[in-house]
Amino acid sequence: MDAFVESLLEELNCEVVFTIPIFGGIPVMESVVVTWIIMAVLTLLSIVLVRNLEVENVGRKQLMLEAAIGGLYQFFDGCVGRHGRRYIPYLITAALYIGLANLIGLFGFKPPTKDLNVTIALALISIILIEVAGFRQKGLKGFLKSFAQPIAIMLPINILELFIRPLSLCMRLFGNVLGSFVVMELIKLLVPAVVPVAFSLYFDIFDGLIQAYVFVFLTSLFVGEALE
């Protein structure tokens, strides 16, 4: 049992892969390296898939690609509205990144989203995107006024939301991925064969995709709300 706990803790810990020897050593964590891998995979896949796109005589591959990207675009378009179209590429990127990050555990890497720092970073980008979108849409006056909406007494709650939103986004993603990871490790300890497959379908694939969906969905909803 002790050995298991140790190995689990080791799995849970994000290792420092290497250290950049400036400013007294900048540690580069495993999650960052895996993110690089994800970036490389996504970029290469995009380049390969986007090559030879045709306007007419569409192939099966292009049809699937268009259905995926077009579907994501339509989905986000419905959430952020007409004024938020320029933020859709970021939302698509976030969806692809978080989705692949949650699934990459299947390929033997540690999911980056299991590292709190990654989800903090994502949540920070999200809240900055939300507030910047509101600021650009309404201007300084309207932006400041929006904190007193719908009535002035909501001011403290609206200010609190500035911190609650990214915190909940970050913790939800992190907790779900970590939790499913721990549960999967426990199941693998109890029954090493066959049974984990069924649970892996749920915890790794379904939960991972759902969490990616929830994260970008909430971000896009907040952006849409800020643009109103």
Partner: protein, 149 residues
């Protein structure tokens, strides 16, 4: 796991922003661009089809009016032809009437002439016969007289 590392966060933010740029450049823009291009193509074709249909309708209208006028003209021509034919018919009939009348007249005259001639002939014959008969009577009278004497 739970240790928050400033550099890690910074790296991740940079990574995500770089990934955003990469995805936008290599995935979203080309795919959406091609979809938009297709949409434009389809819209253009639809517009073309609409224009063609409108043109066709206009042509149809034109042809219909043309056909109508042609029908009218044909009717007129036929009417004219009928009138003309009617006129010619009556003219021919008149001519025939006149011709037949002339013929009848001539025939009548002929007959009259012939009658006259026949009458004259008969008259002359009758006169001859009467003369002969008279001569005969005279002759027989002479003989009778001679006999009775």
């Amino acid at each position: 796991m739970l240790n928050i590392n400033f550099w890690n966060i910074v790296f991740t933010i940079i990574n995500v922003l770089v990934l955003y740029w990469l995805m936008k450049k290599f995935l979203v823009k080309p795919v959406l661009g091609i979809m938009e291009k297709r949409e434009q193509l389809i819209q253009g074709q639809l517009d073309d089809a609409k224009k063609n249909q409108e043109q066709a309708l206009e042509l149809k209208k034109q042809y219909e009016t043309r056909i109508e006028s042609a029908e009218k003209e044909a009717k007129e021509i036929m009417l004219q032809a009928k009138e003309q034919a009617q006129g010619e018919k009556s003219q021919i009939l008149e001519e025939a009437q006149a011709e037949s009348e002339r013929l009848i007249e001539r025939a009548k005259k002929n007959i009259e002439n012939q009658q006259e001639r026949a009458r004259r002939e008969a008259e002359s014959q009758i006169a001859g016969l009467a003369l002969m008969a008279a001569r005969k009577i005279l002759k027989s009278g002479e003989t009778n007289d001679a006999n009775s004497q």
